[in-house]
Symmetry: C2
Subunit: 396 residues, 2 copies
């Protein structure tokens, strides 16, 4: 199950691997157009990469008016595992070296069951993907957890919503089980990396990626790099005060953004609305399902329920106010909204946009797109694969 995975020997090789991964060039000549190396030097490095097996040359491309070029691509048997542990479910996917998803599984699961139970689940999902013939083994794995991570060590720290994970050696344990290198990061950062690799944020150097799910967090990308902060808690905006003397929050303060808008807050507000008889639509759904979640609110809103729409607008306004402050502060080139509640769609986006465009500086909002993520639940796993491939495609 352990696979020998070569590493690039120098920065040139790393550059070439990443160019091939990120799609685009597929011949020596095209690579030469992008790397500013002489043809001779380029040929040497390509030959060395061919020797290591990290890339392969198979077949000839159609002529473009002269000699046909050799097709160069990353080894087709390379496999990365992307794992995205959410508060209430786990996503596991297999990708090839270009980070295209070959297989994807999703399983409901409560992260509070602790690392041992969750890992058992993750490993069985990975085994299932392997058994289906998508991979003989994994060359690397990336994993996202819903809380702050001490990045260099790959260890969660003081995660509020996942007791039992504090200090658990995620990287080491998973690496042992899978027999391959593993990198760990916050799930929101991975969503940002996913949207940067294959989504709306493609080739944007400075952007914010707000993930609204059970909790609420924000991936920060500055100069093309994820900013994690000194203790790995950067982007943890769920506990920024959104409403002075507002609702009490699990963290002990009042008025935190997360206490006013998140999957959990929305479900709670929907229950209150039913209790107060403000929405027959939601009441009907409660009666049918026995409980209410953000999905019910989204469905009610789609059916035109005024109360549900109000709840979403209200939450969007709160979130938009906080984001407006962050936009003034960070001056990003793009804001991406993602996570479980993107089902709330345009209503939510409109409320956020209104607040940001109204409250932030014109200079900061002048040319600022605020859009929904386009990868949905695959953003996290793609980001996870990208994380480990960035690591493996760097000089050892």
């Amino acid at each position: 199950m352990r696979r020998m995975t070569a590493r690039p020997a120098n920065a040139h090789q790393a550059r070439l691997l990443k160019l091939l991964r990120d799609g685009g060039p597929n011949s020596r000549a095209q690579l030469g157009d992008q790397v500013d190396l002489s043809r001779s030097k380029l040929a040497v490095e390509v030959d060395r990469l061919l020797e290591t097996g990290l890339i392969v040359a198979d077949g000839l491309a159609a002529s473009r008016g002269g000699r046909r070029s050799h097709n160069i691509r990353l080894a087709p048997n390379l496999r990365f595992l992307g794992v995205d542990i959410g508060a209430t479910s786990v996503d596991v996917a297999v990708t090839n070296a270009e980070l295209e998803i070959l297989g994807h599984l999703n399983q409901p699961m409560d992260v509070r069951e602790g690392p041992v139970a969750v890992f058992e689940q993750v490993l069985s999902m990975a085994a299932k993907l392997r058994a289906s013939g998508l991979a003989e083994g994994f060359d690397g794995a990336g994993i996202g957890v819903p809380g702050p991570v001490r990045f260099p060590e790959g260890v969660p720290v003081a995660p509020p919503i996942m007791p039992g994970w504090d200090g658990f050696p995620v990287r080491e344990a998973l690496s042992q089980e899978l027999g391959c290198p593993v990198m760990v990061d916050n799930d929101v950062n991975l969503m940002a990396m996913g949207e940067m690799h294959a989504g709306v944020a493609h080739s944007v150097g400075d952007f914010l990626c707000v993930k609204i799910g059970t909790g609420i967090g924000c991936g920060i990308v500055a100069g093309g790099e994820v900013h994690r902060g000194v203790t790995g808690s950067a982007g943890d905006i769920g506990h920024i005060q959104a409403v002075p003397d507002g609702r009490p929050c699990a963290c002990g303060n009042r008025g935190c953004l997360e206490a006013h808008f998140s999957g959990a807050a929305l479900a709670r507000d929907a229950m209150e609305a039913v209790e107060q008889g403000r929405s027959e639509e939601l009441a009907a759904r409660l009666a049918a399902n026995g409980a209410l979640t953000a999905v019910d609110v989204a469905a009610a809103a789609a059916a035109g329920d005024a109360t549900a729409l109000d709840l979403i607008r209200e939450g969007g306004n709160r979130t938009g106010q906080v984001i407006a402050g962050l936009v003034s502060f960070f001056n990003p080139g793009l804001v991406v909204i993602g996570g479980g509640v993107t089902g709330l769609g345009h209503t939510l986006l409109a409320a956020i946009r209104t607040q940001v465009y109204r409250q932030s500086l014109p200079l900061a909002t002048g040319n600022l797109p605020i859009v929904l993520g386009e990868l949905g639940p695959t953003a996290g796993v793609i980001g996870a694969a990208r994380l480990i491939s960035d690591h493996l495609f760097s000089p050892a």
Copy 2:
């Protein structure tokens, strides 16, 4: 007056120059300890730098148990000009290559008089410094302006408090007048660079530098680099909403931080307090000076005036609330408070600390110093000198 200033020919030379500038090594051997080059290669590059005249070897150091080393230092006749244009005054200083201040002038001036008038003043101050024998000419100049800057071009954009400067080619104009390379940046960014070079933020990679003066802004340093945002307006936190439906602000919104706490807001609140008869101390100062400024509030507070202290605490609380959000978001390793109102000293700092430690995540505040800047009014000019020296000490 134009001086020939050589530039390093490669990254090694750039590295050596910066090491020498930032103090520490002063011999070939000590340089060798820090740059991971063979002694031979190091000797070659040092010799080349000696040839260009950027560095000089003068005399021998005391022996440390063996052969005495040659003293190596940056050319002693290199001179940088640091200019810090504030809303109400201008600072101009001359530094040597190590960015030590050799002469410093400060002159009250209203930035709204426009770039032409201000430049006349700046040039006359620079001429005075030159005439006093501190410099024969300038090898480079850095200049900070109180508003957003399109950094690559060195041009202010849409500066709210400095009409008439929008689009004015500051870099080009000053470069023409002084006959040397010029770099332009926001004044707050330069304060951050100053504190990073020679102040409390020395060797801190991720920190925030909040400058409270006539307005309020925040320098953002991530990974040792200043984050300027896509339009150069990053750190403009004065118009983040601090009080819902609060005081009207010049920007058109209500409740902006700057409308509740800044030099201008403090003066206004002090006037109100006098009108309402809430402070005899402030009334006396108004009678004596004909007007009230933040300095009067500071003095009244130092004299124990309860109303003045309340104003400062109130402002500190507002500011602290905003900073608390930024700390949760950015997770810095240090927060520096600077600018004109640092005269408010410990009262202000205590209020800010209270809010941040109470409202931000424990993980983000666990080991987070919140301190006053230690360079005072020299931070800006040192940062300006640092900016241009970073530029000149990079390969051409």
